[in-house]
Every structure is written in structure tokens, then in C-alpha cells.
Amino acid sequence: MNDNALNHLHVEPTIHHEMKGDEGSLVTMKGFSLWYGASQALFDVEMELEKGLVTALIGPSGCGKSTLLRSYNRMNDLIDGLRVEGSIIFDGQEIFHPDVDVIGLRKRMGMVFQKPNPFPMSIAENVAYPLKVDGVRDRKLIADTVERALKSSALWDEVKDRLNQSALGLSGGQQQRLCIARAIAADPDVLLMDEPCSALDPVATAKIEELIDELSGRYTIVIVTHNMQQAARVSHNTAFMYLGRLVEYGETSAMFTVPRADRTKEYVTGRFG
């Protein structure tokens, strides 16, 4: 019996009651465990991301939700001593297969971080960046993509007259929407958002949440959030994690009205965390 099996001796299995999307699942995580050196951060996670739906990851600090999010596009690869077990199958392909082009994977799984991170260049150049990296020279294509991405991220009307000004002059909320536009410009299937509103005021937060709602359907979205009401507002399914384990993964409305696991009940009602 290996360590992993020992860890499961006294652990309840994940309770699943997630909503299934009309287009089925896009990403399947199977028996997924992850170690940072000797310390295990994720334990045997089984979870489907439904295509076109918004999935929220919630749980107390250190529960592994950001680690889980970063596993989807292998952002954890850069960490020394990282080891994984199990598999993540994205659109039929194992993402840990040696033949996988990690840059290509990350383009298909765009990421938005906690703190807006626009590059020190113009608004248009920020959005066009993924195309430039790909060597696209076609000015018309670039201009069209910039416009489409900025419209999709509900920023176009606010910036269309100053596309060549520095992105650093935008407000925090605008910068975050710009980062979403940059992720969209790469034409991804999945948007991974790691606490995208934690540095924003309530109005900017509401705009991002509205944007998430508009983008769902076209994109499969995963959002890590510390704000349970935000998870309740924006997501179709919610995954509750605790100590590296997926405790419960279910339809959001049920997770916040009739959660099934005792841990989930305690967490969503503010009894710990």
C-alpha cells in the first residue's frame, strides 16, 4: 500500500451532484494527486469540467484550489520538485503526455490572475500580444482580433478612442478586463481565473461577474474565489475543497441551499474557513 492509499483510509469520497452541460464534459481529471517536494497538495481528485459552464472552486486558504486551477494548464510545471499522479484529459488528450506542446496548451487555456498584469505597452499591443508571439503580421487580422476581444471583454466602448495609450493608465477593473481580452485574443477554449476580483472594488467586481456570465457558453470557465457569494452568483457548478481533497462538487444552487457534506455545510454557512 503506498502513501496515497494510506491517506484515503479515513476520508469520505467526493460527493458529486454537478450540473451536466448540454455539450458534455471538456476536461476530465482522474485520480489526480500532486506533490510539492515531499508535501502532498492534492489528493486523488476526480472532476469533470462541463463545456460552456462556469465552475467555481471554493475552500479555505491552503485547500489546494489554486494548485488545482494551475494544474489544468500546467502552470505548476515551473515549480521545483513538482510531481503529479493521475491524469487530466482535455478535449480527448492527456495534458501530461510528453508530446504535448505546453505553450499551445496554455493558449487554449487562458489564465487571468488575482492582480491585473497588463504589459507595459499600449492597450492594443496588450491584446495583440498573443498574435505577435505567434508571428502573425496581418495588420487587419490583428486589428479585428483586438476589437473582437475588447468587445467580448466589455471594454471596447471605454478604450476604443485610446487604443494606443499605455495600458497602465487604465483603472484596476479595466486592467483586469484587458487581461481577459488578452486571454480571449489567443482564442482559448477554457478561461482559468484565479481570484480575478480580489483586488477590485464592488462596481468593477460586478462588471467582471457580468462579463463571466456573458462569456459562459462560448468558453468553459473555472474561477477560484474566496468570496462565496461570488461563487454563488457566477457559477453553474461549485467545487468545495478542503486539505487538498475535493469534498463536494455540485450544482451551485444546491451547494448553497442543501449542501450534502458536513464540511461543505460548515464552510458555506461561515462556521469555519
Binding site: T257, D262, T264, V268, T269, G270
Partner: protein, 224 residues
């Protein structure tokens, strides 16, 4: 379940439960007084029930205010949310029971000088069952005891049957003594109101089941 991290939130929920219980206790007492007034022809007691009904109404408003404030300020989830929804619903049922007790007392005042009907004992028995249902439904609310709540729902049929029996008996009495028809109509009214009280207690019990299990068992025949 362990207490909330926020002690104020914990205290607010516990204050809500206490208030619902106090309102329930008041309403339960009102039914008892109305029936005692009927049994002992006690006009003063009947008037007390009518006068005290405004205090019951005040409780309803207070409980609803409390629930709305907690919802707005705490954004409760899961069982906490259900506790508040249940509080709102129960306060409405209790207020209706209070009205019914006051209404029964008005009927009692109408028959102060009439002789006792042979149905009095059945009426008292029915009242005991209905009061017991109310009492147990509130106990179940506090203890979050869905089995007790289910037992309350099961007793409703007995009360319905007693109401039908009393109705038939009073009809016979009416035929035998047409001069007392007004008094018999008042008694029929009291019997009907007691049957309604059992219905409201059943509503409360059904809400307790929702509180505990998160499952709405009301009007389940709709799905059939």
C-alpha cells in the same frame, strides 16, 4: 454542527428561534384559553384572547423584520438560509392561528347563555390534539427533529375526521332543536377553526422537514 465564526450571527439566529418560540407559546396559550372560555362560559377569558391577538400580530412583524435584516446583512446559506425562510413561513402560520383563536373566542361570546352541546367533549378532544400538534411542530423546529414533524403531519387526518363527526352531530342537534340553531352554527364554526389550526400546525411541521432535510414535501401530489 459547530457554531458560526461570527458570534453576532450565531446570536441573531438564536434570538430569531427564541422569538418564534415565544410567539408559538403565546398562540398555544390563546387556543387553550379560548377552549377554557367555551368550557366554563368565561366571557372575560374569551375577551382576553381577543385583546391579546394584537401582540401576536406584533410578533409576526418583528420576526419578518428580523429575517429580512439577517438575509440582507449576512447572506446566509444552506441550513441558515432555510432557518430564515422557515421563520418567515412559521410566523405567518402562527399569526393565522392567533386570528383563529380570537375568532373562536368571539363565537364563544355569542353562546354564553346557551346550554352545552353534546359535542363539547369531542370539541375539547379535538382541541387537545390540535394544540399538541402545534406544540410538537414548534418543538420539532427548535430541535430540528424531522421525525417529530412527520408525526405531526400524520395526526392531521384524525382532526379532520373529528371535525366531520362534530359537524354531523351538530346537524342532528339542529334538527332536534331548531330554536338553538344560532348557537350550533357558532359551535360548527369553532370546530372548523380548530380544524384549520391543525392545518396550520401541519404547515409548520412541513416547513420543519424542509428546514432539516432541505426537501419540500408540501403539495407532493402535484408531481403525481
Amino acid at each position: 454542527m459547530r457554531p458560526h465564526t461570527s458570534k453576532n450571527f450565531e446570536a441573531e439566529l438564536s434570538h430569531l428561534k427564541d422569538t418564534v418560540l415565544r410567539m408559538g407559546g403565546m398562540v398555544e396559550a390563546a387556543i387553550g384559553k379560548a377552549m377554557r372560555a367555551l368550557e366554563w362560559r368565561d366571557a372575560k377569558l374569551a375577551r382576553t384572547v381577543i385583546e391579546e391577538d394584537h401582540a401576536v400580530n406584533k410578533y409576526e412583524v418583528d420576526i419578518d423584520d428580523m429575517c429580512v435584516a439577517i438575509m440582507a446583512l449576512r447572506q446566509p446559506a444552506a441550513e441558515d438560509l432555510r432557518l430564515l425562510i422557515t421563520g418567515l413561513k412559521i410566523s405567518t402560520d402562527l399569526e393565522r392561528i392567533g386570528d383563529l383563536a380570537a375568532n373562536m373566542s368571539e363565537r364563544v361570546l355569542e353562546i354564553m347563555n346557551d346550554p352545552h352541546s353534546s359535542s363539547l367533549n369531542e370539541l375539547l378532544r379535538m382541541s387537545q390534539i390540535a394544540q399538541g400538534m402545534l406544540h410538537d411542530s414548534l418543538d420539532a423546529y427548535v430541535a430540528r427533529d424531522s421525525e417529530k414533524a412527520e408525526a405531526v403531519c400524520a395526526r392531521d387526518e384524525t382532526v379532520d375526521e373529528l371535525n366531520r363527526q362534530i359537524f354531523r352531530a351538530l346537524l342532528t342537534e339542529m334538527k332536534d332543536a331548531p330554536s338553538g340553531i344560532t348557537g350550533y352554527l357558532s359551535l360548527m364554526n369553532i370546530s372548523k377553526q380548530m380544524e384549520r389550526i391543525a392545518d396550520h400546525s401541519t404547515n409548520i411541521a412541513e416547513m420543519v422537514i424542509y428546514l432539516v432535510k432541505g426537501k419540500d414535501i408540501r403539495h407532493t401530489s402535484f408531481g403525481k
